[in-house]
Symmetry: C2
Subunit: 598 residues, 2 copies
């Protein structure tokens, strides 16, 4: 084990020496900083043998090191064995970050290399700053390692399809108009988009180039008069090309983007978000003109769902909720009776979703975690490592689908048999957390940093916490995680906050994790709605989109305020109303029981 990788690292070291590169960085990213990386872009995995979804390899003449986070320490240790690659455990004490490592080791006159297409401008600029005064060269214009990768998979390419206006609610021409208004406000003559979901939203198209993200590899370059979409020609048909042309979007080859940007007419500033664009493109644009470095205007526009999208989302979520509820009933009925394990039940759930009309794909790989496995917030069962499920303890399932009517994301934890008082306390407090936040009323102007504490308070009161954010935005037939809004409490002065707007949708997903014991997460998606407007301002609130019972077998009402009990009963009453049309016979009886008042 690790022998091939050791050879690959040695071969890479030879290439680096020949190229005059002293330190070479191989991150885990495609050209667009997508959440999932398709096989074509798995260079870091190819070189190191480490298969985790996050990690960066740094190779020098002296050493090869792999940086990854706590989710992957065990896996990386085992997969790196024999490769000679040193594991750097990120965020542990005395472990340097990559930047710190480079600052310590790179000497005057040396060269740091990386493929500038897979490193974002933000990190590239950090390196520039760190080594600005030090006579260190950044060689970012070549993928040195690629010649070692003989059997590299093909670049993904799928046919795009057009989201009809009765589904997405707004035409491309109108969207382009709004984007150009924003460009004018910022004094930008051009907008360069590299963020795939932003491009899909703008062009009302979808595809299948990234796992679970219905997007096509592409760039868009919007000018005052012109809009160019760089996309693989195999992704297009005459029809889709025609649709885009009708809407004022010209198509160019995906891999011509850089050449185009080098030579096209530039008559003013170019707006490009450094957090979302590759360092390569950033340098290229920077060479030509002044930049406006702000979040893409498309990000906020995409986040605020329009009434047509919302109508589809509401309906889609009810069908998705019904399927998950049936699955959870089946789990509770059959645990201990039927042989089941984390993988088999996930497959069953995925199959149930696939039968929902309009189903396209999962929105992310289903997290199916039993007992202590659920204590790892990003646990994923594999063929090599998964647990059998019995009639005891908690089972957590975090899952979602891509449908013609929207993108879903929902987590429930259920008791499959006896659970301890402590587990009930945790479960009950998490349920209160989710319900209190969903029930919050707040003045317009609040951001997620104001509201996060509403969900955390029931846990903080008990000296407990969950080490993840409370909520993220969700796309419409797009990425399951999207910005610019989120629900978090930590303060970072450099991170701008986004006010919560009517029509945004956001997850509400508090949890509680006890190592080696259990993990609980209860996640609904809620939409942001306007409530009364009076002399104090515009009040806002949330409305549930997810309608799945919260397992009453794990609720202990002594840990709830009367108002929490009212919220739970009111939610369950609505769950019954919304789901009953999809249930009958014995299942309807189960639904009645699962949503009874406590």
């Amino acid at each position: 084990m690790g022998v091939i990788e050791k050879q690959r690292i040695t071969a890479l070291q030879t290439l680096l020496r020949e190229a005059g590169i002293d330190y070479y960085i191989v991150p885990t990213a495609d050209y667009h900083n997508s959440e999932y990386v398709s096989d074509y872009f798995k260079m870091r995995e190819f070189l190191s043998g480490f298969t985790g979804s996050a990690g960066t390899l740094v190779v020098s003449g002296k050493e090869a090191g792999l940086w990854t986070d706590g989710r992957y320490f065990v896996q990386a240790e085992s997969e790196l064995e024999g490769s000679g690659i040193v594991l750097y455990r990120m965020h542990e004490e005395n472990v340097p970050t990559i930047k710190e490592y480079l600052e310590k080791n790179v000497e005057e006159g040396q060269t740091i290399g990386f493929d500038g297409r897979v490193v974002d401008a933000f990190f590239g600029k950090e390196l520039e700053e760190a080594f600005g005064g030090k006579n260190v060269t950044l060689a970012y214009d070549r993928d040195i390692a690629v010649q070692l990768w003989q059997d590299r998979p093909a670049m993904p390419v799928s046919r795009i399809w057009v989201v009809p206006e009765e589904s997405c609610g707004m035409g491309v021409t109108e969207k382009l108009g709004k984007v150009r208004e924003k460009m004018a406000e910022e004094g930008a003559a051009h907008l360069l988009l590299s963020k795939l979901d932003d491009i899909m939203w703008l062009c009302n198209i979808r595809a299948n180039d990234v796992e679970c993200n219905p997007v096509a590899l592409s760039y868009a370059f919007i000018s005052r008069e012109k809009a160019v979409l760089f996309i693989q020609s195999a992704a297009l048909t005459e029809e889709t090309r025609g649709y885009l042309a009708e809407n004022g979007v010209t198509c160019e080859e995906y891999d011509h983007a850089a050449a185009y940007l080098k030579s096209c007419e530039i008559d003013g500033k170019v707006w490009c978000s450094c957090a979302d664009i590759s360092y390569m493109l950033y340098k290229l644009v920077q060479d030509r003109t002044e930049l406006v470095d702000k979040k893409n205007p498309t990000e906020l526009m995409k986040a605020v769902k329009n009434p047509v999208e919302l109508e589809h989302i509401r309906e889609c979520y009810i069908r998705d909720s019904a399927a998950l509820t049936k699955f959870l009933f089946w789990m509770k009925e059959n645990a201990g009776k039927t042989a089941m394990d984390e993988l088999s039940v996930a497959a069953k759930l995925d199959g149930m979703r696939a039968e929902i009309p309009g189903f396209l794909d999962l929105s992310f790989p289903t997290i199916s975690a039993y007992k202590s496995n659920a204590a790892m917030a990003h646990y994923s069962a594999t063929e090599e490592h998964f647990s059998r499920i019995d009639a005891e303890g908690f089972y957590l399932v975090d899952s979602g689908g891509q449908y013609e009517g929207g993108t879903t994301d929902v987590t429930r934890t259920i008791a499959l048999g006896a659970v301890t008082d402590e587990m009930k306390l945790h479960f009950t407090r998490v349920a209160c957390a989710m319900l209190r936040l969903a029930d919050a009323r707040f003045l317009y102007g609040c951001t997620g940093r104001n509201l996060d504490i509403i969900a955390r308070a029931p846990l903080w009161e008990c000296g407990l916490d969950y080490k993840h954010g409370t909520g993220h935005g969700i796309g419409y037939i797009l990425n399951v995680h999207e910005g610019p809004h989120s629900l978090r409490w930590q303060y970072k002065q450099e991170t701008p906050e986004t006010k919560l707007e009517e029509g945004m949708i956001v997850s509400d997903e508090p949890g509680m994790y006890v190592q080696d014991s259990h993990g609980i997460r209860t996640e609904n998606i809620v939409e942001i709605v306007k409530e009364e407007k009076n002399e104090y301002g515009q009040f806002m609130g949330f409305r549930h989109l997810t309608y799945v019972p919260i397992d009453l077998d794990a609720i202990d009402t002594q840990h709830m305020e009367p108002s929490d009990i009212r919220k739970l009963n009111a939610y369950h009453e609505r769950v019954y109303e919304k789901l009953a049309p999809y249930f009958e016979g014995a299942e309807l009886e189960l639904l009645k029981k699962a949503t009874r008042a406590v």
Copy 2:
């Protein structure tokens, strides 16, 4: 009425014409942007006749305009009558800000003048930016209007006194050491302090130059080796001068500061906070070297009270609480029986405070507001306008003292007779708001923006709000309002937030105001304490410093959760414990009754 002012404006216009100044700005400020402005600095009042505590006069050849806020519209309208001065109602629709007014009116080649000593660098820089490209001159180095003011009062000067180390807990030498550490961290060779409470804290001195603020007019210039205090020599005795010298602080004349800064040795960057320094000094320093524009390092150090200070504060607050409680009992017993009005009862309360050992002064003018007067958050009864008090409705009193053991600030609202159900709802929700926030447990790292919503939620739930912040820091024998922390919810990207630290003290003062009807505010001061530290992090909490009963006659428990009732009872139990030693006989019986469990 207004005749003298009209003449003064005309005379000023003549002087401006002679000086070649087209627009002249007269703000309401001393040289240190103090919260209260002593008579010497009331130039705006002298010129305009308007006596309110906030307002800015702008005079040009065409017009004189006075900008003030909603608190003063009625007063300003009446006081400006006959002066020919136009009232600009700030924050009303279509009313330009001063900057907007100038941008609209000032023409190419014109000159804007102001006394650069009473305009802060922040505003001066805003003007620079607004008129930077426009060939407009800023003439900031002369006080043009001063020659009109024949009978100007003297500049205030009071003898400074030294806070003994057994009271302030840390010597000047140690404080200077900490400040110099921070200067080194920021790469600053010098620190210029103009903020009076920061200077007092650093030098362990107090004085009486500003109303209610126990400070001396002064500047401090700290270098690596040297510390210079610019202060009026009449403020010093041989003894205090000796004390400062022993601690490495050299004294120079207050009005030599500018000359000193022009000629002293500067061997690196100068740290000065543009929000706290005058534009004049800013320009002067900027001419000589590079600036570090950050909040004064003294601000955070001063905000985190040390154990010695906290011990004094805790005791001081109990004596202050006892006095207020006795006053409130007297009010409730005598309203309707004895003749009383807002001014007479305030005088009584101020007198009761003055009898507390160690009393020095009020920490701000007592706000004594009956019925609808309390709906104005900054109401102040005057000899011309005050209300008689009867045995009905709410009475609100916001008050505090300066003592040798600390600075207090507390607000209570009491029912003097029948109050409506709506008033009880408001009162009860405000009480819940104060108690919930004081009872909150939170992870270290939270800022006031995370926590503010805990106090607002009980009101927001009902579609209500109070249009002021929830809390501010408080000095130690210093200003009743201090930073850098606060409890507010609104987001401003440019305003950095401060994490809440153990030892900070902060007000917790939700309220509810209904125009023409009533005003409620319940304000405790709380200290920030560490609670358990576990795998989730360092938990923090608050501890009450204020122990004054919350009027149970206005509490309606149907608007409370069981946990709110527990909090109220627990608070009252502690109020009884803390105050009982100061009560006896019938008053002790009243205390028992006022703190009974509900």
